[in-house]
């Protein structure tokens, strides 16, 4: 992950270390270092979700800009406009961008204890995902599929049909191996 390795700054729940959102003022740009590996989000002042509400819940263009940056950073294929606009509309009409961002705050300050996973587990590896930590937690079973082309969003490719067929194939293979007692890595 190079220079953009995960970094969790130690700040109080009320304030950001960077001070980019002091006094409730928003900064309509992305923080430097929001990277292709996704680790940059952990430096994103997204934890101050209530402040971002100022522009992402009042200006749909602001919402599109904010999510658009994520779609670009975390995908190697820009999702189709129609799909993006449906997602944006859903976030807009339900006014849930702020409440969704609280995931990061809640999981930061109320973390789940990391444990090894005993449940038979498969995971897909796609571009721009931080996989190594996850792989260390699944020792019992792992059906690992690596895709050099892909993204974090399962239906968001320019060829969702192809992508979905691949997902189903991988899923089916996992069950087949599970029932036959084979461990699959590859």
């Amino acid at each position: 992950m190079g220079s953009t390795s995960p970094h969790w700054s130690r700040t109080s729940p009320q304030g950001g270390r960077r001070g980019a959102l002091r006094h409730g003022a928003f900064v309509p740009r992305s923080e430097p270092g929001l990277g292709r590996d996704g680790a940059g989000l952990q430096r994103d002042p997204v934890h101050q979700a209530a402040d971002r509400r100022l522009w992402t819940q009042r200006l749909p263009g602001g919402l599109a800009a904010y999510l658009g940056e994520k779609w670009h950073s975390w995908s190697d294929v820009t999702p189709p406009d129609d799909f993006l606009c449906a997602t944006l509309t859903l976030y807009w009409v339900t006014q849930t961008i702020t409440s969704s961002m609280r995931d990061y705050w809640d999981n930061r300050w109320y973390p789940v204890d990391p444990k090894y996973v005993g449940t038979p587990t498969a995971f897909g590896v796609f571009a721009h995902q931080t996989v190594p930590r996850a792989s260390r937690r699944a020792r019992i079973w792992s059906a690992c599929t690596t895709s050099s082309a892909g993204q974090s969003f399962p239906a968001a490719g320019t060829s969702p049909q192809l992508r979905n067929r691949r997902d189903r194939r991988d899923l089916t293979a996992f069950f087949r191996d599970l029932s036959s007692g084979h461990r699959t890595v590859g």
Partner: protein
């Protein structure tokens, strides 16, 4: 278990339409990754959103699926064509939604598929208290699937940044 149908009021869509135009934009600096969304791309997307995008068509497509709500959790439930398939719960990530899996559903007819909206996303309101973490979601998923009659299940998650770690942690309470 309450059936759920998507319908956004006209005035909400009208209000959205009125707010869509980008009248001013930031200065066009030479763009590079890490400096935010590229302005020309944003203008093109918002123009499509304003002039070509048809939310009502999406509503018709989505309402062809079986939606329910249960204790504040919205979900799509598609039973296997055979009547009883392997239970599969598909979890979206951020900044995504249950829409991620809609195009995948026709290809999963061998499974009993449940596609919930995470608390605080889409049609699942987020509880007001803090601490709505992965463990909370995992337990809600487990309860939902149990109430649907599934004693064992397969969980799948597509997440954005935290990647597989989240989905693996969600598997812990599975049997």
């Amino acid at each position: 278990m309450e059936p759920f149908r998507i319908h956004v009021a006209d005035e909400v869509l009208d209000d959205l339409q009125a707010r869509l135009p980008i009248r001013d934009g930031p200065t066009r600096y030479r763009h590079r990754l890490g400096q935010g969304t590229e302005l020309d791309w944003l203008r093109r997307l918002v123009s499509y959103w304003a002039h070509e995008f048809d939310w009502r068509a999406w509503e018709r497509k989505l309402n062809a699926l079986n939606h329910f709500t249960r204790e504040g959790i919205h979900f799509v439930h598609q039973r296997a064509a055979s009547g009883r398939g392997v239970p599969l719960i598909l979890t979206h990530g951020w900044p995504s939604s249950f829409l991620d899996y809609v195009d995948m559903l026709p290809m999963l007819e061998d499974f009993d598929v449940v596609v919930p909206s995470l608390p605080g996303y889409g049609f699942s309101p987020r509880p007001l208290e803090v601490g709505i973490n992965y463990r909370y979601v995992s337990e809600r998923w487990h309860r939902l699937m149990t109430e649907l009659g599934y004693s064992a299940m397969v969980r799948a998650a597509m997440t954005s940044v935290l990647g597989c770690r989240r989905s693996l942690q969600w598997t812990i309470p599975s049997r």
